[in-house]
Assembly symmetry: C2
Homo-oligomer: 152 residues x 2
C-alpha cells in the first residue's frame, strides 16, 4: 500500500524534475516543451499531422499552429503525401535536425550529474524497472505503443 504510494511519488517527482530540465533547455532556445517533443519525434521519421497529434495527445488544430511556427522558423517543413492528397507530411529541415542534435547533447549533459550517481549495474536496473512499469500500453494509441524516440 504505502509501497505503492512511494513509487507513485518517486515517479512524479522524477517526472517533474526531467520536465524542468527539458523546459529550461527549451526556453533557452525559444522552444516550448511541446515543440521540443515534436523535434524529438521527427528526428528519425516523417509523420502526417494526425499521426503526430495522436502521438502527442493533442488536437489536430493545435498542431497546425505548432507546425506553422516551427516551419516559419525553418525547423520543420510540410510536404504532400504521394499516396493521399489530403494528408500533409511533416519532416525536419537540416536546421531542425542540427538543433535537435545540439539540444539532445545539452540535455544529456544536464542530466549527467544525476545519472552519474549510478554505476552501470544500477543503470541497467533502473532502465529495466522503468521499462517494466511503462511497458504496459498507454491509455490510448493504436499506432506504436507509445515508444518513440523520446527526444534523447
Amino acid at each position: 500500500m504505502t509501497s505503492d504510494a512511494l513509487v507513485d511519488d518517486a515517479l512524479v517527482r522524477s517526472a517533474f524534475r526531467v520536465m524542468a530540465v527539458l523546459t529550461r533547455i527549451g526556453a533557452e532556445n525559444d522552444l516550448s516543451l511541446t515543440q521540443l517533443r515534436v523535434l524529438g519525434i521527427l528526428r528519425d521519421r516523417r509523420a502526417r499531422m494526425t499521426e503526430l497529434a495522436a502521438f502527442l495527445g493533442l488536437d489536430k488544430s493545435t498542431l497546425s499552429g505548432l507546425v506553422d511556427r516551427a516551419e516559419r522558423r525553418g525547423l520543420l517543413a510540410r510536404g504532400k503525401n504521394p499516396g493521399d492528397g489530403r494528408v500533409v507530411d511533416v519532416f525536419m529541415t537540416p536546421a531542425g535536425l542540427e538543433l535537435a542534435e545540439r539540444l539532445q547533447g545539452e540535455f544529456r549533459r544536464a542530466l549527467a550529474p544525476a545519472t552519474g550517481q549510478l554505476d552501470p549495474g544500477q543503470r541497467d536496473q533502473l532502465v529495466h524497472l522503468l521499462e517494466l512499469v511503462m511497458g504496459t500500453d498507454p491509455p490510448a494509441g493504436p499506432a506504436r505503443g507509445g515508444a518513440g524516440p523520446p527526444l534523447s
Copy 2:
C-alpha cells in the same frame, strides 16, 4: 557506453507518461498541470506567493493569475501574513483539500496497472534508484537554495 543514453531515454519516456496521466486527470476536472501541482504542494502547507513561484519555477506574475482563478473556484484562499505586511499567504480551502484528495486517489488508480507490474522488492528498488538519481542537486531545479540565477 550507450548506457547513459538508455537511462536518459527511459527517464524521459516515463516522465512523459506520468505527465500524460496527470494532464488527463487534470483536464477531466478542469485543472491544468500547474494547478494540479499547486494543489499538491499546498496539500500540507501554507506558502507565500514568491515561495510558491520559486518552487514551481514560475514568475510571480504568473502565479497571481493562477491563484486568482483557483481562488475564484473556491479551491484556494489568500491570507495576510502577520509578520510581514507585504506578503500574501496562500492555502487550501476545505473544498480544495477534498478535491486534491480525490485526484490523488484517481492518480494512484490510474497508475496502478503500471506499478502493479512490480513486486514489492522491485518497487523498493525503483524508489531507491530514483532517489539516488534525483537526490543530487538538479542541474536546473527550481528554487534550490543558494546557487543559481533565476533561470526562469
